[in-house]
């Protein structure tokens, strides 16, 4: 009886808040030098690896609250998708563990500090030659907490 009550309480009061995962979709090109101001740091870091990518533009930003253990598929461009699974909530080191499947990546697992973006430069290129870049950030869900 007490076990049933405990299970009922666990269902009603989950101990782990969902994690809000934000995915920024960026297209980089060598055809221009226009950089979105929000992407200044990203552009600088990418250019260290490929100096020919000079133009960076934001395509879309999507955020989704995902319970720990669940996953969500983010739509990118050209019918490309990014599947993200929240593997572990924020640990003692302040990292949230994610696993994902992205264009050119069968599986990627990593832990990253909250509120910080981790870039992924994918091998996908659009018809016009733009390179698809993703930046993923996770943080404990703060919806309703005015933050």
């Amino acid at each position: 009886m007490s076990g049933a009550v405990a299970a009922f309480v666990l269902v009603l009061c989950p101990t782990e808040d969902p994690v809000r995962v934000t995915v920024v979709v960026v297209l980089a090109t060598s055809e221009n030098t226009t950089v979105d101001p929000k992407l200044a740091d990203l552009a600088k870091e990418v250019q260290k690896r490929d100096p020919k990518l000079t133009g960076f533009r934001l395509v879309a930003t999507e955020a989704k609250s995902i319970p720990v253990g669940d996953s969500h598929t983010f739509e990118l461009v050209d019918k490309q998708e990014l599947k993200v699974k929240v593997e572990k909530p924020k640990d003692a080191n302040g990292r949230v563990s994610l696993a994902m499947k992205a264009p050119g990546l069968e599986k990627l697992s990593y832990g990253c500090a909250c509120d910080k973006f981790f870039p992924i430069v994918t091998p996908h290129q659009t018809k016009s030659g733009e390179v698809l870049i993703l930046a993923v950030m996770a943080k404990p869900c703060t919806l309703g907490k005015k933050n």
């Binding site: 934000t22 920024v24 060598s30 979105d36 101001p37 929000k38 992407l39 200044a40 740091d41 990203l42 870091e45 990418v46 260290k48 690896r49 490929d50 020919k52 990518l53 533009r57 934001l58 395509v59 879309a60 930003t61 999507e62 955020a63 989704k64 739509e75 080191n93 990292r95 563990s97 696993a99 050119g104 990546l105 069968e106 599986k107 990627l108 697992s109 990593y110 832990g111 990253c112 500090a113 509120d115 910080k116 973006f117 981790f118 870039p119 992924i120 430069v121 994918t122 091998p123 390179v131 930046a135 919806l143 005015k146």
Partner: protein, 241 residues
Amino acid sequence: MTTPTPNPDDFPRGLLAAYVDGELDAEARATVEQWLAEHPEALDELQAQRELSPANAPLWERAEPPEPSEAEWAAVRRGIEDELGAPGRSPHRRWRAAAWAAAGLAAAGVAAAVAWVAFGPAAPPEGGGKPIVVAKAPEVAPHPREVAELAPAPRSVDPLAGFAVLPMATDDDVVLDRVPEFPAGWLPVGRHPLPGLMVLATEEEVLLSEVAPSSAWAAGGGPKMTTAPGDAPMIFAAKLR
């Protein structure tokens, strides 16, 4: 028809009419004729009786029917009322009158209830007899939420009937899941998922567990996390140009 001999001083006028209409036997007819001979002043009356004879029926039919006087109508009305109020009246008729009266009262009650529901005043506010305070339009446009609180519950079909100003959602009310990139200022409400400069994680803030390239990558190649002292790590899978 046998008719008594009329008194010359008080000759019955009905006998004279019967004489004119040819309804008397020979003896009575002779009596009348004798009386008329002795009373020539009655010839005028005889002429009047002849004018009223059934032989003149077509003439009477063309005449308008007599209208009852007010007194006659009153007499008829009194007779009907006496009949209805008579103590010996049938119990069945009294029960039927009572049923009609009860049905009339019930119909009036239902009509009054329907009118009260449709057009009656709204439920009184808490406090019973307190007068209803009508909100005055402020000189400065209030916050949309205040307007929503002041607005009465809509009673008509129009869903906007209760709003003087449409209440708009605030940034806290809206959760934006996906935002396509447009020039700044296009988003009317809500917080952009990427509100400011994108801050990249440092090498110390990222712990890579597993990287498995897709089958499209050649063995030994593929993406890997590239780092450099002081630089932000990233997965770089694009082919170099």
